[in-house]
């Protein structure tokens, strides 16, 4: 466990850099995390996806899979690949401050 300073906040992160404490996240931190994965600017569209991930995680105790983000969250899969290129599930969970999804689909 490491304490990292991100956007002026001290937050706990794991060895891969994922935030480990749900409540330590905020949008300023998300903007910094986004840069780590090649997303220079978080648009309101990005933020809407992150909000869904966090709400769903909080409700179910599990990070939603890409399929769930589309089927339950209502976000278009193609669009998710544009917003979070190449590895959307991992990238969006990292920026949203929730663990990597574990589901297969």
């Amino acid at each position: 466990m490491t304490v990292a300073t991100i956007a002026g906040h001290n937050v706990r992160v794991n060895e891969e850099g994922f935030l480990t404490e749900f409540d330590e996240w905020n949008e300023a931190i998300a903007a910094e995390l986004a840069k780590d994965v090649g997303i220079d600017e978080l648009t309101p569209e990005h933020v809407a996806v992150l909000r869904f991930l966090r709400e769903d995680y909080q409700a179910n105790g599990e990070t939603p899979t890409l399929r769930r983000v589309s089927s339950v969250g209502g976000f278009d899969t193609k669009r998710l690949f544009v917003l979070f290129p190449k590895k959307p599930a991992k990238k969006m969970s990292y920026v949203a401050g929730v663990p990597k999804p574990v589901g297969c689909v």
């Binding site: 300073t5 399929r67 590895k87």
Partner: protein, 171 residues
């Protein structure tokens, strides 16, 4: 517990060279419900990892992309010792329908989509679907009979060219 400064804190390496240039080809040759899913699930997982993914449907695998059959794939317990059902029972009339229904429910309970919707997901994620020329000819099927996302009906030679440098799995 350690403290890291902004420059040295751990960061994931999602875009490293490990997956760039990696390519996966899945040959789907079976048309039963239980054998359709392994290819679809692996394809979806690979796409989510940013890997170029192609599915080649051949022989019975055509059931997965045939508009008439894709939504009605069946599971048969006959000849499958892993169901732990006595052979005499697994062959009873109606048993295939019962077993198929049960499997569909189990799949849906895991929030895994039915086959046609799964193909939508895979094509939306950038996956490529190809149909086998010989299988199409044998079944007298044309592109119009196939799922709309199928990019083309191609020969075995075309597939060999397409899969150059790829990791290929026969399912």
């Amino acid at each position: 517990m350690t403290t890291a400064t902004a420059s040295e804190r751990p960061k994931p390496r999602f875009d490293d060279e490990d997956t760039s240039g990696r390519k996966l080809c899945l040959i789907c040759s079976k048309g039963s419900l239980d054998m359709a899913y392994p290819g679809l699930i692996l394809a979806n997982a690979a796409l989510g990892e940013g890997i170029e993914t192609h599915l080649f449907f051949t022989f019975w695998g055509f059931e997965i992309i045939n508009k008439k059959t894709m939504g009605a794939l069946q599971f048969s317990p006959v000849g499958n010792p892993a169901t732990h059902m006595p052979t005499a029972v697994s062959g009873l009339p109606g048993m295939q329908a019962v077993a198929t229904n049960m499997m569909r429910k189990q799949i849906a309970a895991l929030d895994v989509p039915p086959v046609p919707e799964f193909l939508d997901l895979i094509t939306a994620a950038g996956g490529h679907l190809w149909a086998c020329r010989m299988s199409a000819d044998m079944n007298k099927l044309t592109q119009d009979d196939l799922y709309d996302g199928v990019e083309g009906i191609i020969s075995a030679t075309d597939f060999i060219e397409l899969s150059a440098g790829a990791q290929t799995l026969f399912i």
